[in-house]
Every structure is written in structure tokens, then in C-alpha cells.
């Protein structure tokens, strides 16, 4: 079975083809075109969608070429229907709808966040993990129960990705800023005290962001180090609480911030303490990509027919804990 996945929730327009054989999935191609805002600025939805429109056909043809298939060979097409930025989402949806109606291929709208989790499970082999989803759009602790992903903890305001990006942008960095902050942080060991807010399994970053901006003049490296140490310790604590409560034996970390080495080393140490296995999605697939959409679409197609074209909307606000998972 061959599935095409189209991702366009935020800064990335991406296409991927996955072949499913039995229970295994093989990524034949994963092509990404990433919109880069000017230094110190965030994503401008209109500019990002313009970028996506300009790059959509290029990404699609590169993807088909690399996977050595024709559009007609596809058994299904899936696209990220949300959550994300409206103008960006619509580009992917239009591409998916056009292909689906012209070539008469079943179409599946897919939740982007579920995509991160499903691809993570495919690539790491985790069976029944507690999931930590950390990206620009999400900061959530999830466990699967009765056909739905249930939220055991989440951020009460901004996400971990937003925290790093907004702090980085205040220093004039180009988003996403995670990598640059990680590099600077590794040059300091001088911890400056910052607000630490954990409420049960929930975290809150707004106070931390304001405070971090106030200490940046005393030294960027110290500020980056202290910000990371505080924010990651909060996430680590919330994760450990959720692990201890759910008594899960696996922890899987997915999403863009999963690429951060300091965060994963902290979580690894927690897993050791709590006696559970640690899985982290491979660096290459931690950020937004087409594969997460293609694979989730394939999973969906095993239990239901494609959507009617009239039902292929995009949903900017679409929480993953409202999605029924039947496969």
C-alpha cells in the first residue's frame, strides 16, 4: 500500500510517500521546503502560505521522483487538516483535494499532532508509551486509553517551542531558535535563578519568558543556559509525575524540541530512575514532515474509507484529544 502525505501546518511544506507492507512502513521519500522568516521575526502566515504555494509543485515532483512512483500508483492521499495556521493549512488541503479529485484517489484529513505520535511509534518501535510531545505548537503529556490519546499534562500558556523561539527572537535570532539557544547554553554553567512553575502535571512558561528576557543583558550564554535548565527541569518534573501516576513502562519523546540533546539527556535519566524504556524520535524526523501525515493517513485507511471532498476542511484549532483512534 502506497500513501502520499502532505504537511503544511506552519513553516514547512512537505511531501512524503510511505509504503506499508504488513505492519511495517517504509519511507520512500520525504521532501521538505521550509519557509524562513527574517531574523528576529516569527512566521508571517501570509508569507508562509505564499512560500508554500510557490514550493508545493516542486516538493511534490521531487517526492514522486525520489520514491520512483507515479501519482496513479498511490492508494491514498492524506493531508494535515490541523491544528495550524489557516492560510498554510489551506495550501496543503488544496493540493491534496486537487490530486484526489483529478486522479480519483481516496483522501484522508489527518491531525498533525497525532502524526507526530504515530510516526514516532513507527520509527522507534514503542508499543504503549507515555508520550511527551514538545514542539512549537504543542507541549503535552499523553497516554492512550480507550481509543483516544488522553492528556495527562500540558502547558497552561505557551509551548516549549514558543518559549525558546520567542526568547531567541528577542535576541534577534532566526526562528526556529532552539539549536542556537542550545549551542549558547552549552557554553555556560552559571545558573541564574528563574521562575519555576509546575502545577501537578501542568507547566506554565509565561513568567519564565518575561524573567529570562530581563536577565539577557547580563550575558546571553548564562541566560540561555538558565532558561534551558529551568524550562527543561519543569518538563522533566511533569513527565516524571505523569510516569509515576500512569506507571507506564515506556516514554517516547516526539516533536521539534525532541532534537534538543540536553532535554533528552534529562529525560533519559528520569527513565532510568523510574525503570522505563526511553525512546526518542530520530533527529531527522523530529520536526514537521510529510511522513507523519502519510503514515497516519495509511493507518486511518485501514479502518475507514476516504473522506468526501465536501468534508475535507482544515481546522486551525483541532485538539488531538478529540480524535477517535480506531486502528
Amino acid at each position: 500500500m502506497l500513501g502520499l502525505g502532505i504537511e503544511s501546518t506552519a513553516h514547512t511544506f512537505a511531501c512524503s510517500v510511505i509504503e506499508k507492507k504488513g505492519k511495517k512502513g517504509k519511507i520512500l521519500a520525504d521532501i521538505r521546503k521550509i519557509y524562513r522568516p527574517a531574523d528576529g521575526q516569527g512566521i508571517h502566515p501570509r508569507e508562509a502560505s505564499r512560500h508554500h504555494v510557490e514550493n508545493a509543485s516542486i516538493a511534490l515532483s521531487e517526492c514522486l521522483q525520489k520514491s520512483k512512483i507515479q501519482i496513479n500508483d498511490l492508494d491514498l492521499i492524506s493531508y494535515a487538516a490541523g491544528p495550524g495556521l489557516g492560510p498554510c493549512l489551506r495550501v496543503g488541503a488544496v493540493v491534496a483535494r486537487s490530486l484526489s479529485s483529478y486522479y480519483d484517489i481516496p483522501i484522508y484529513p489527518v491531525n498533525h499532532a497525532i502524526g507526530h505520535i504515530e510516526l514516532g511509534k513507527l520509527l522507534t518501535g514503542a508499543k504503549n508509551p507515555l508520550v511527551l510531545l514538545v514542539s512549537g505548537g504543542h507541549t503535552m503529556l499523553l497516554a492512550f486509553l480507550e481509543k483516544q490519546w488522553r492528556v495527562f499534562g500540558e502547558t497552561l500558556d505557551s509551548t516549549l517551542g514558543q518559549l525558546l523561539d520567542q526568547f531567541g527572537r528577542s535576541l534577534g535570532f532566526a526562528s526556529p531558535c532552539g539549536r542556537q539557544i542550545e549551542n549558547l547554553a552549552s557554553k555556560s554553567t552559571n545558573y541564574v535563578s528563574l521562575p519555576y512553575t509546575v502545577r501537578g502535571n501542568d507547566v506554565s512558561f509565561s513568567g519564565l519568558l518575561s524573567a529570562a528576557k530581563q536577565i539577557k543583558d547580563k550575558g546571553i550564554e548564562d541566560a540561555c543556559f538558565s532558561l534551558q535548565e529551568t524550562a527543561f527541569a519543569m518538563i522533566a518534573e511533569a513527565t516524571e509525575r505523569a510516569l509515576s501516576f500512569t506507571e507506564k513502562k515506556e516514554l517516547m519523546i516526539v516533536g521539534g524540541v525532541a532534537a534538543n540533546k540536553r532535554l533528552s539527556s534529562m529525560l533519559k535519566s528520569i527513565c532510568k530512575r523510574q525503570g522505563c524504556k526511553f525512546f526518542v524520535v530520530p533527529l531527522e524526523f523530529s520536526g514537521d514532515c510529510g511522513s507523519q501525515i502519510a503514515w497516519t493517513g495509511i493507518m486511518e485507511s485501514t479502518v475507514k474509507p476516504g473522506a468526501k471532498l465536501s468534508d475535507t476542511f482544515v481546522r486551525q484549532s483541532w485538539r488531538l484529544d478529540t480524535v477517535k483512534v480506531d486502528y
Binding site: G82, P83, G137, H138, T139, M140, A143, L145, E146, Q148, R150, V151, F152, G153, E154, T155, L156, D157, T159, Y191, S193, Y196, V198, R199, G200, N201, D202, E229, T230, A233, A236, E237, E240, R241, L243, S244, F245, T246, S265, M266, S269, I270, R273, Q274, G275, Q316, S317, W318, R319
Partner: protein
Amino acid sequence: MDLIKKGAEADIFLTDWDGKKAILKARKKKNYRNHILDEKIRKQRTIRESQIISDVKSFGISTPLVYFVDTKKFTILMQHISGTLVRDMSKSKIIELCIEIGKIVGLLHKNGIIHGDLTTSNFIFSKKSLFLIDFGLASRTAKLDDHGVDLRLFKEILNSAHADIIDKAWSNFLKGYTKSVGQKYCKKIIDKVSIIESRGRYANVV
């Protein structure tokens, strides 16, 4: 001294004190955490927990008796409560106990204290009465918003760990909560909880 639970922030040991069974809660150093931050958190929580766990007794909430606090080693020695965690009880029993849980939480809030980690594993059912444990994240606050966050925490746990009984359990919780704080405050806080929920990522703000 036997380790009985490796909790998220502390190790729980079973020991004895003056011939009675006792619990030693030790906030161990966490090597993954920056040591300045680590010390700050462990110290603050040890002191706060031991104070609040005793204070709430004065308005009738059952909590373990504190025997000894070590603010150098960050340990608390306290009474052992034998019983069952509400988390591990039958569905019908959890639904029933939610009234009492609501009452207890209401009493806390009425007296300007939030628990900060309201889960079904922090209530122990022992000989017909409910004990509230783990005050590590508790704090003194009269702010409506803080009380709302406390309630949302409990709702989140029902929604995730006890998804099949959330409707009945939550309405019972609110019934009990109303008994402690009165109808007017309860209505205010229900509105606050929905505001807090709407702040969540991708929440449906219709």
C-alpha cells in the same frame, strides 16, 4: 527501612517511629537538574509541605501527622496511613468518593490553600475516612485563578485516567465542593475553570 514507592519528586520509605509504622519522604538529589535549582526546589517544598500538611488539620482535613522534619537532608518523617489509593478503587466507589474529595478541596480553598497536585493517587481511603497526602506543590493563595487551576488539575486527571466515569465523578466533585464553599463561589469557579481551559492550546474557542 523499605523503599515502597519511587515517586516523581521523592522516595517513600516505610520505617518506624517510636514503635509505630511511619513514612519517610526523602526528596533525593536529582542529578539531571541544575544543583542550585535542585536545592531550591527540594528545600522550599520540604518546608512548605511540612507546614501546610499540619496547618490544614486545624480546619478538619485528615492528613498524616508530621513527626520530624530535616531541612538539611530534605526529609519528612510522618504517620503511615494504611488504606487504598482512590485511583485503585472500583469505578462506582471513585464516583461516590468524589463528593468527599470535592468537600475537602472546597475546605482547602475556603481557607486560602491550594493543593497543587490533586490526583486520585493523592487521596487515601482509610477506615471510612479520606486522607489527603503529598502537599509538595501546595501553596497559600486566595486568588480565584489559582483555585481554578487546582480544580482543572483534578478534572484533567478524571478526563485522562478515569475517562469513562468523568461526567458522574466531576458532577459529584462539584456537589461536594459546593457544600464547602457555597453556591455563589462554586458558580464563579466553574466559569473560571472554563476560562483556564480555553487558554489551552488549540482549545475550541467558539
